[in-house]
Symmetry: C2
Subunit: 117 residues, 2 copies
DNA sequence: TCTTTGACTTACCAAAAGTAAGTATAAAAG
DNA sequence: CTTTTATACTTACTTTTGGTAAGTCAAAGA
């Protein structure tokens, strides 16, 4: 039983804090769909993420070594993102959650409705 | 390949949006540690969550049917929270991520340092 | 010369989360 | 018999995070 309250030293808190923001897990999922992806592709795929937050999310993932960023020196610019080996390890874990989501969304939506009634 | 951009209809987005906030996954994890838990126990276990956000997080989880909330009519008040069957299904999936975190935190911390240098 | 292209930045605004104080009520302490 | 303590919250206010829309850069094409 790890010490969640020791934020610096606790690996769970350290990693979970990074995943626990509005877009990170979804970005990882999307990047898992193809070998590599350009900025605007990811942006369109998600649809409602702002360019600003996509930039921020990608930078953090890059800093943690979960994705790599390759810049081609052309104009207009071309930048490709892809999961690193480390990022690919994390992918199936998040994907398992999405499969659970698929199985149980109906139930959850129903629960929400009941709760608000 | 699901349509992530259709937020209403996409189960992945629907569930991931709920998990993608600052505390939800951690609260589930903590509740998974014992059969049931009182408000202040959860609060202490996490350490740096505010009472306000713990309340909000618990209410959302309850609305989705992932946890149950039992109020004992005593004074001072006593309220017990525990994972429902649905919540217990989700627990190991999040826990798998924490195990991954344990295994790779050193590497990730190192990556972050390199990136900021 | 003017528009288009792609991956961003930036300034400003809105939403989520943090902080600290307050509420309710009865039993226990003084 | 007045004050303190206990627990699970609310509430008003501040700070942090995220959203919006416009701007930047440099070359290729009309």
């Amino acid at each position: 039983m790890s010490d969640f309250s020791n934020i610096e030293a606790c690996p769970v808190r350290n990693v979970l804090d990074r995943l626990s923001d509005k877009w990170t897990m979804l970005v990882i999922l999307v990047l898992g769909e193809s070998k590599e992806m350009r900025f605007n592709e990811i942006h369109k795929r998600i649809g409602d993420i702002s360019e600003k937050m996509l930039t921020v999310s990608l930078r953090k993932l890059e800093a943690d070594g979960l994705i790599s960023r390759e810049v081609y020196p052309v104009i207009p610019p071309k930048v490709e993102y892809k999961l690193t080996a480390l990022g690919q390890e994390l992918l199936p874990l998040i994907d398992t959650i999405t499969q659970w989501a698929d199985r149980h969304m109906q139930q959850i939506l129903q629960n929400r409705q009941q709760y608000n009634a």
